[in-house]
């Protein structure tokens, strides 16, 4: 086994991205995501890759989409205000089905808020921040090590499903330094987008039999096609046909929602006989776990369900939980965002409580413990 | 390619009858007909200057080597 090294979450994100094959980064600095840009600037040229600091976040994502279209795995990173600015082009990437990893190192909003403090309050924005109906994938790590592996996975999902993938981490994990054992090349699987074969007759938005998404050739190979944020047919050219629009958007949703079992990952902790379950994600799980350990010692039957994939949500699993347990508590660093999704899925079968805030103070295990006792009494 | 070898051709379906080619043809070769499309009315006068082709917004009139036609 390789040796553990101490590494910051934001650095692990860049290391993971490079491991996954990122060769292009464009963005605009913003606290607390800036280290991702800084390390990308340092490292990418060593890999023959490119870093560019753009004039703002809008062009930060636009350049990354352009690079990805041309055939290069790309990433952009930001925090709250920048994430808001990127929303229009997130919709563009979803519509044109361009693989892309978008990192949001969450801080406290709204607006400039508390720029140096941690939150998880951009969860719903990640799902609904751009206009119109569109599907996305979002994942959230809870440690430096998982930041690395999940970044690799984010790139794989982006390539496999031709979709923007949101990597939702936060100041707590992004700025924490923890030991990590970096995997060796080949140790983690790497997925590259499927390209048409040379000379193949190519229809840019047609899915070939047995495949999930349309093939996507790198530029320069001879497949000249058109990309557009307008509704387009299989040919890539715009069309106003309602039937076509319906078929295309249905396909875009299906590629994600028909594959939730592949896309969705989660962690279960002490769930076997749990009567109360904390549904949580990302850094907040680090507050929940010690609370559970302590409660278990005191004989309370409590467990944790940690969503690693936030969107699409682990709906099946949460629905199943609602059949099994007596109480669900959603723990998150906001005023109740994932709560909405969980409550919707639970359909009133068991009570759903919330614990959360976004005022710069992370949840304490003791608070969580106290709530559990209150709920269970 | 010699000018003499060029032939004045039309892609009539594409013509939107804007009249630009007619207006700027130095030798008044072209007219707009009653269908609101261009017609070559006076081919002999054509000096193959290509101004019509260059300024037709709809690629509806052009010159090409006769042999290619």
């Amino acid at each position: 086994m390789s040796k553990a090294v101490l590494m910051q979450g934001n650095w692990a994100c860049v290391e993971g991205a490079l491991y996954a094959g990122m060769r292009f980064y464009s963005g605009y600095p913003i606290t607390p995501s800036t280290e991702i840009a800084e390390l990308s600037a340092q490292k990418l040229p060593l890999y023959g890759g490119k870093f560019i600091q753009m004039e703002d976040e809008i062009s930060g994502i636009a350049a990354a989409i352009g690079a990805s279209i041309s055939g290069t795995k790309s990433m952009t990173a930001t925090s709250g205000p920048g994430f808001s600015l990127k929303q229009e082009n997130i919709g563009y990437a979803a519509m044109t089905e361009v693989p892309l990893v978008i990192v949001n190192v969450m801080r406290v909003g709204p607006s400039t808020g508390l720029p140096t403090a941690s939150s998880q309050a951009d969860i719903m924005q990640a799902r609904f921040g751009s206009h119109g109906d569109y599907p996305i994938i979002a994942v959230s790590p809870n440690s430096v090590t998982e930041t690395f592996t999940l970044t690799v996975r984010a790139f794989n999902l982006a390539e496999k499903y031709r979709t923007p993938v949101m990597f939702l981490t936060d100041e707590t994990i992004g700025h924490a330094r923890e030991p990590i054992v970096l995997p060796k090349p080949g140790e983690l699987p790497i997925y590259d987008r499927v390209q048409p074969a040379d000379g193949e007759e190519y229809m840019p938005f047609r899915v070939e039999p047995g495949e999930i998404v349309p093939r996507m050739p790198a530029y320069g190979r001879g497949f000249r096609y058109n990309m557009s944020g307008l509704f387009h047919t299989e040919t890539g050219f715009p069309s106003n046909s309602p039937e076509n629009a319906q078929a295309q958007i249905d396909r875009m949703f299906a590629k994600i929602y028909d594959n939730v079992d592949d896309i969705v990952t989660y962690e279960e902790f002490e769930l076997d006989d749990a009567e109360l379950v904390f549904v949580t994600y990302g850094s907040t799980s680090r507050s929940v776990i010690p609370a559970i350990k302590s409660l278990r010692k005191q004989g309370y039957k409590v467990g944790m369900f940690r969503a690693i994939t936030l969107w699409p949500s682990p709906a099946k699993q949460i629905e199943a939980l609602a059949e099994r347990v007596k109480h669900i508590v959603v723990a998150e660093m906001n005023r109740g965002q994932y709560l909405q999704e969980v409550a919707r899925l639970v359909k009133g079968k068991v009570p759903v409580t919330h614990i959360g805030r976004a005022n710069s103070e992370i949840l304490l295990p003791s608070e969580i413990e106290a709530l559990a006792k209150e709920v269970l009494s | 390619m010699k000018r003499e070898d060029l032939q004045l051709l039309q892609k009539r379906e594409w013509c939107k009858g804007c009249g630009i080619c007619v207006a700027f043809c130095p030798t008044k070769v072209l007219i707009i007909d009653t269908d609101d499309k261009v017609t070559i009315a006076n081919e002999d006068a054509c000096i193959k200057c290509r101004q019509c082709e260059q300024r037709c917004p709809d690629y509806a009139i052009f010159l090409e080597e006769a042999s290619d036609v």
Binding site: S59 | W14, C18
Partner: protein, 276 residues
């Protein structure tokens, strides 16, 4: 009837005729670009044309290259990613005056400053065509637009000066009437190493023309012919003759380190250090 060999070679003819209005000069500018590309002998597979949103930006749908129809105003930013990720590509951006200089103004000045090897063609019809005739940053003072019912209160951009002030290393202006020089500027711009911009003065008979009583497309083309003068000729004109005249020509042509080349230089240097 078939269309011309030039058109068949470079256009997606199954998408033609295009949807631009009768007499709209966007078709002229688009053809001029194709002539320039043809004369330069660019490889269609290594040429990328990126546009934003607008009537002008619709051009990419008709052109048989790698084409990207992006979001309004952002074409240069997308193009920056394409070019930097893949330096062997020729990357050309087509943009309307609104797309390039209203919502997209920041990307214009930054691409110019960076001196990245992109060619920006602004099809400037002095109006927002696609959305139905609102004034744009290039609509002349006091002209009418649907959002300037009492005449435009603002001052317009001189796009040539703007690009120059931002640091562009090749800047030219042509018109949809003066096709031969236009093709030449397009060629020079594409061949230029660094950021190049060509403003093409276009006519929008439907919205600009109707609101401002500019007459038919033919009359507007006459106006282009009569009021635009080559810069070198203009400089020699006596003051009184300059009244009401506008200039076209090449305005900036200079050498500065090009962004992508400089960046690749760093990669090479680091590789050298590693190998050493």
């Amino acid at each position: 009837m078939r269309s011309s060999q030039l058109v068949e070679k470079y256009f997606r003819t199954k998408n033609l005729p295009h949807i631009w209005c009768p007499g709209c000069s966007l078709g002229i500018a688009t053809r001029s670009l194709v002539v320039a590309i043809d004369e330069l002998g660019l490889d269609k597979n290594k040429t990328v044309i990126v546009s934003g949103i607008g009537c002008s930006s619709r051009a990419v749908g008709y052109l048989d290259f790698n084409t990207i129809h992006t979001t309004h105003g952002r074409a240069l930013a997308f193009a920056t990613g394409v070019k930097l990720a893949n330096p062997e590509l020729h990357v050309i951006v087509i943009s309307g005056d609104g797309d390039a200089s209203a919502i997209g103004g920041n990307h214009l000045i930054h691409a110019a400053r960076r001196n990245i090897d992109l060619t920006l063609l602004i099809f400037n019809n002095n109006i927002y065509g696609m959305t139905g005739g609102q004034f744009s940053p290039t609509t002349p003072h006091a002209a009418l637009g649907t959002t300037a019912p009492f005449g435009v209160v603002e001052q317009p951009f001189d796009l040539v000066k703007l690009a120059e002030g931002a640091g562009a290393t090749y800047v030219a202006r042509g018109t949809a009437f003066h096709v031969n020089p236009l093709v030449k500027y397009y060629k020079n711009a594409i061949e230029h190493k660094g950021f190049s911009m060509v403003e093409t003065i276009c006519i929008c008979p439907t919205y600009y023309g109707r609101q401002n009583k500019s007459g038919t497309a033919v009359q507007m083309m006459h106006w282009l012919k009569d009021s635009f003068v080559l810069n070198t000729a203009y400089d020699k004109m006596p003051e009184e003759k300059r009244q009401g005249k506008h200039v076209y020509g090449e305005f900036v042509k200079k050498d500065l380190p090009e962004y992508v080349e400089e960046y690749v230089g760093i990669i090479e240097r680091l590789k050298g250090e590693e190998d050493a």
